[in-house]
Symmetry: C2
Subunit: 388 residues, 2 copies
Amino acid sequence: MLNIRYFNKSQSDTYQALDTPCLCVDKQTFLKNLMHLRTRTEALGASLRPHFKTVRAAEALKYLLPDSSSPITVSTLKEAEALISEGYTNVIYAVGISAAKLKRIKNLQHKGQTIRVLADTPEQANQVNLFCEEHRCSVPVLLEIDCDGHRGGIRPDDPLLIDIAQLLHTGAADFKGVLTHAGESYHCLNPDALREAAANEVKVALDAAARLRAANIPCEIVSVGSTPTAHHYENLDGITEVRAGVYSFFDLVMKGIGICELNQIAATVATTVIGHNHEKGWLFVDAGWMALSGDRGTAQQPHDCGYGLVADETGQLLEGLQVSSVNQEHGILTMVNDRQLKPDDFPIGSRLHILPNHACATAAMHSKYHVFDTQAETYEVWNRIQGW
Amino acid sequence: MLNIRYFNKSQSDTYQALDTPCLCVDKQTFLKNLMHLRTRTEALGASLRPHFKTVRAAEALKYLLPDSSSPITVSTLKEAEALISEGYTNVIYAVGISAAKLKRIKNLQHKGQTIRVLADTPEQANQVNLFCEEHRCSVPVLLEIDCDGHRGGIRPDDPLLIDIAQLLHTGAADFKGVLTHAGESYHCLNPDALREAAANEVKVALDAAARLRAANIPCEIVSVGSTPTAHHYENLDGITEVRAGVYSFFDLVMKGIGICELNQIAATVATTVIGHNHEKGWLFVDAGWMALSGDRGTAQQPHDCGYGLVADETGQLLEGLQVSSVNQEHGILTMVNDRQLKPDDFPIGSRLHILPNHACATAAMHSKYHVFDTQAETYEVWNRIQGW
């Protein structure tokens, strides 16, 4: 977490002059988070394919990826277009494809790059085949596999698995393999459950690939991943790549699951105290849902953090203080334990930092990030790629 | 609500070519919403001071305001700066002021405009006075009054009311009057409760103004408002202006309170069906929390709409269908009544429209709005002013 004690004079001046609310990134924490998962994944013999949806800043790419041919995942074509224009070549668009989006995909392939898309219905397979025939092009497709009933995808034992893959393999599209995402792992609350979810995700992907190969359908890519499972794989034999997104910034939901510690949270929202209600023990700050997002991802966890926990400028957690409610540009902070809020400790104008429930959602509210590197003694502004 | 049956050929082509998800605005509905509240408010003898935070698009200003001197409210200095650069002159920044923001306020006053700020503590009054002395300028200040315990402000019978106003009145700042906001009116669920909240908001503002005047402190502005109360005032004698924001677009929360009907909702998110789970009765669309926001404002209302209700392209509500869960770029639609979801009715590629729980939050997720006027037969793109 950000700690202004390690700032040099120039960083300190920049930091003090920031208008709040704003998103601050502690670059050293961010880099450590990236390094940890890359090392772990590669030691197990798989590639890491980071999900760009969390950070979505071109300035972060050189840290997320070793080189321009490294694999990356996106959740929007806007991200894919930005990556291609930055020279990156190996992209998966990991949201089920609809025919209307194929024209933009084709425009990107034209530039000699690879955008792989996702399908889990015969309709989509037919639509991609038809598009490829009509436009005399080839679009690489992955089949989405459902490993835990969380969202989309086909169960590996569903007869449609072979049918859809066969449609793509024999049609004008280019069938590339399978992809699954253990979305339910976000509800695991202990290491055993996480290891089980991770092993299951791997097993389901391998089962699907084996069934396809037994039907003489090549399956080049076997892709798994979610931040919780990515930190709990024990064996990745047969898996070609691991996807994860929020591991770069981490957040309170990940802390609640036990994937990270508070000091691994790299992105926080800087805010200013703008009022007190002494009677009610309320502290008002200028960060509402517009700066924090309305995400309540910790509400279902044993430790409900409201709309976020609170730290001071030195990265010290202010125990018991949390964002209890938010309006558009107001946050109300209260003490949730026995201690009383001492308004004198937080005079109007004080700066605090809010630790986000869900870093993807909080970062999405900011068009730029203020990135401080306390080791290289640098300050950078990263610009978020927005929209679809 | 948008109804593509009324589109001309050019509008229809434009609409069909839109990439989803995207925010669509039915301009005639928007204009009717604006007209209704302006007429109602002016008939009661007060000015309407729309809150810009909902729409935040410069292209909308000529509809929101009769002329460049008309009053307007903002929730960020970014909006105030945009308004000033567009030539608008009468702005209230309705979030408690902190000293660090005064420099930007002063830069705007330099341009000959009026940005009024809000305070509810002696500390803020002293800070504004000090700033004005040091910078030989004058900043107009309103005192925030607490009418219902919702958020900030001073109770009208609090001795601090006079103390703070006196500090501002006798100091270098320019004391202008009082402002209150009946935030608790969002929890009213019947017309009687709403009329009561509206009458209370007015009474509290008038009481505060009367106490100040009795202490020989002039009180030029007496400002009240929230969308629910703004539609329920019966007498505005002594009130100079009414503020409201979400009335321009309306949404499901306002429908739940009884302030609008579904067909008065002007802004919806266009989305595309990207998958089915026949077994579970799930329909996947390409609008997740990134396009809808994660707002769950109807959760506390008698009719919980999940993350939004669903209409077809002709503005017809699809009864019983709602967005039950969202991920970043995925929404899952389910039937919440006895009827079964018939996936054949919604083939992959179908376009639907999601009615937002909270229009301010949903609009905030979009950098541009697609605005269709079925009467003037026009299509416009409005660009949202983003950030702080």
